[in-house]
Symmetry: C2
Subunit: 377 residues, 2 copies
C-alpha cells in the first residue's frame, strides 16, 4: 500500500468542460468520471462486493450516520475497519453524516457546535460535530473523508442560504483541522470540502473561495439534487463547477438519474453517487438504453428478452424479463439481487462510455445520442 | 442430451444399510446420498443458480403448487420450461403439489377425483388431480416427477391411515398412467412413487407392494417428518426402507436436520430435500459442525471468526460472524444471501462426507463422530 500515492488526480483528456482521468490512492485507482454505488450499512444492498467490483466500480460510498448507529464506528475499528469488515478492499468514500441527521427533522437540534439527534433505530441520543464526524470516518478507515456541513434546505431565502453556507464554511475549517489531527489516517486518506450557496452564484463563489483557501484534496458541489429540478441544477452547475479548482476532482453529491449524470459530466463533474440504481432495482425499475422500464408491468410477463438487449452484464446474459417479472412480483430476494446487479452494470457502462467519449473528443455527440434514445424510451 | 441415459442408478458401495452411487439422467449425474435444495418459486431463495451448483448440488426441487399458481405451468412451458426460465440446466425434481394443497386446510376439498382448492395468492379456484399434476410437471419440464398422493396427516388412526394410503395407491396408478401418456416427456424423465402408511409396518408393506407392482424409477418414503419426532421417524425407517426395491433410489421427503439426514442415510435413504438450510439461513440460523448457532445472538457482535472455522465455503473464507450478525440484525438482503450460501454449502459438504464414509466403509464411525460433535454444540 505504501508504494502508491496518498492522493493524485491526473486528467488524461478534456472535451469542452468534461474531463477524464484517474485518481490514484493507496487502495487503488478511481477512473473518472466515476459512479460510486452506495453501501449505506456496510453493504451495497443485495450485492456481494466482488459483484460490485465486477460491474466496474472502483470506489463505493459508506454512510457515516448509519454506521455510527449500527454497528458503531468504534466496533468497526475493533474489527479492522470498514474494508475488512465488509470485504471491499478498494477505496471507500464516506459522507459526513450531516445530510442524514439534517433530514431527521423532528429528532435533531442544530447549534454552532454541531447537531444533536436521536437515533431512528432506538431513540438513543447522539451528537455529530465536525470533529466527531472526522473521528468516525477515521475509525471506519475511510479513504475519502467528506467535510461535515449543512446541506442547505430547498427552497431557502437568500439570507437563509448565506447563513447556512457561512456555517458550513466554518465547519469546513474545523473538519480540516479535525482530519489533520488524525495524522496516521490523514497520511493515507483524502479530505474533500463541500461547496454550498444554494442556487445563488455569489454565494457559490464565496463558498468556493473559502474552501480553496482552506485547501482540500477534492471539492464537492453540495446542496443540489434537493428538489430543484434538472434545469435548475444544470443552471447552477454552469457557474458553480468552474469556481472549483480545475486540477482537483469535483464531486456532485447524490446525483442521479442517467441523464443527470451525462449533463453534469458535460459541465465538468468527475464523481457521482446515488441510491437510484440499487433502490429502484429492488422495487422493479430497470435502467435500459431506451429509458427505465417497470419490470412489474404485465407486458413483461412473457417477455423472453433480456432487460436491455444492448447490455453485456451477467443478468442480461442469463435471464429474461419474464423471469425478473416473476421474481419481483413474487417478492423473491433473487429479484432484488439481479435487478440491482443489472442497474449497477448499466450505470458503470454509462460511465465507461462517457470516459471513452471524452478521451476521443466526442462527448457532445455521445451525450446527444444518449439523450435522444434514453429520453424517448 | 440424447447420449445420456433417461434414468440409471448404480450403487458403487454399501456400508451396513447405507449406499452410495450415482443416478445418471439426461441433464446430469446425481451423486447419492443427495441433498436437493428447495427452489419453491423457480428460485432457490437468495441464491443464483451458479452458486447453488458451486455448493455441490446436483439437483434441485421445484414446487408444483407454487409454480402452477405463479407464473403458471403453461406460461413456464411457453418460456421454454423451468430449466431455461430460471437458469438451472441440471436435473430438477418437482413435487406433485399434493402436500401443499393438503395443508390449505380451510381452502381445499378432497374427493376421489383429486383436490379442489383456492389459491392463497388471489383466491382463484383450481383443481389438482393425479392427471393434472402429471401434466403440470410435464409442462414445467421436470426431470424427476413425483406421483400425486395424499400425505397422511399425523396423528392418524389406523383406519384413517389405511384409507388414506389406499387412495394414494389408486392415485399412484393414475399418476403412472398420466405420466406415461406424455410420451415425449416420459422418454427423457423419471417418475417416483411415494410409500404411505403412516407409522404402521403392515400398511407400509402393503403400500410398498402396490407401488412395486405398478413400477417406478424410484421410491419415496412419504408421510414422515410430519411431527412424529426423530425417534419415531427412525423407528419407521427401520422397517419401511427395506420394503422398497434395493436397486432403486429411495427418497425421504422433506428431511431434514443434519442429524436426521445422517440417521436416514444409515438406514438406506439416498435422496433428501428440506427448506431448513435456506429458510433458517434467512432468519439467522447457521449450521456448523458444532451444531446450529443463532447469528443474531449478542455474543457474535464482535466475533471475528467465520460461521464455521472448519467450513471451506466462500462465505466462511471471506466474512466474520460479526459482519453476518450486523447484516441479519439490520435486515440486509446480503445477510440472507450469505447465510443461505453457507448453509447450503454445509449441507452439501455433509453429503460429500457421507458419500466418502460409505465408500470407505466407515459410515458408522463417521456418523457417531458427527453426532458427538454436532449434538453437543
Amino acid at each position: 500500500m505504501s508504494d502508491r500515492p496518498r492522493f493524485s488526480f491526473s486528467i488524461s483528456a478534456t472535451d469542452g468542460a468534461g474531463r477524464t482521468g484517474v485518481i490514484a490512492m493507496k487502495r487503488g485507482d478511481i477512473r473518472t468520471p466515476a459512479f460510486m454505488p452506495v453501501g449505506t450499512a456496510a453493504t451495497v444492498k443485495a450485492m456481494k462486493p466482488q459483484d460490485v467490483r465486477a460491474s466496474g466500480a472502483d470506489i463505493i460510498l459508506g454512510n457515516t450516520y448509519h454506521l455510527m448507529l449500527r454497528p458503531g464506528a468504534e466496533r468497526v475499528a475493533r474489527l479492522g475497519g470498514l474494508h475488512a469488515f465488509m470485504g471491499w478492499e478498494r477505496p471507500i468514500l464516506t459522507d459526513s453524516g450531516g445530510y442524514q441527521v439534517m433530514s431527521l427533522s423532528d429528532l435533531r437540534k442544530m447549534s454552532e457546535e454541531g447537531v444533536s439527534f436521536k437515533s431512528h433505530l432506538d431513540g438513543s441520543a447522539h451528537m455529530l460535530t465536525p470533529e466527531r464526524s472526522m473521528e468516525i470516518q477515521r475509525l471506519l478507515g475511510s479513504d475519502i473523508v467528506m467535510a461535515f456541513d449543512e446541506c442547505t434546505p430547498f427552497p431557502a431565502t437568500r439570507d437563509e442560504a448565506a447563513l447556512s453556507m457561512e456555517r458550513s464554511m466554518r465547519w469546513a475549517r474545523r473538519s480540516r483541522d479535525g482530519f489533520d489531527a488524525g495524522q496516521d489516517h490523514a497520511s493515507v486518506s483524502a479530505l474533500f470540502g463541500i461547496q454550498q450557496g444554494s442556487m445563488h452564484e455569489d454565494l457559490r463563489r464565496i463558498s468556493a473561495d473559502r474552501l480553496t483557501d482552506i485547501g482540500f484534496d477534492g471539492y464537492a458541489v453540495g446542496g443540489l439534487a434537493v428538489g430543484e429540478g434538472q434545469d435548475e441544477m444544470f443552471r447552477v452547475l454552469d457557474f458553480a463547477v468552474g469556481m472549483l479548482p480545475a486540477d482537483r476532482p469535483r464531486y456532485l453529491m447524490g446525483v442521479g438519474k442517467p441523464d443527470d449524470i451525462v449533463g453534469a459530466v458535460e459541465r465538468g463533474i468527475d464523481m457521482f453517487d446515488c441510491v437510484l440504481p440499487t433502490r429502484s432495482g429492488r422495487t422493479g425499475q430497470a435502467f435500459t438504453r431506451d429509458g427505465p422500464i417497470n419490470i412489474k408491468n404485465a407486458k413483461h410477463a412473457e417477455d423472453p428478452e433480456p432487460l436491455d438487449p444492448d447490455c453485456h452484464c451477467p443478468v442480461c446474459g442469463q435471464w429474461s424479463r419474464a423471469y425478473l417479472h416473476h421474481l419481483i412480483r413474487s417478492g423473491e430476494i433473487l429479484g432484488a439481487m439481479l435487478m440491482t446487479e443489472h442497474n449497477l452494470n448499466f450505470y458503470q457502462a454509462l460511465m465507461a462510455d462517457l470516459r471513452a467519449a471524452i478521451a476521443e473528443g466526442r462527448l457532445r455527440a455521445f451525450a446527444d445520442d444518449f439523450r435522444a434514445r434514453y429520453l424517448r424510451g
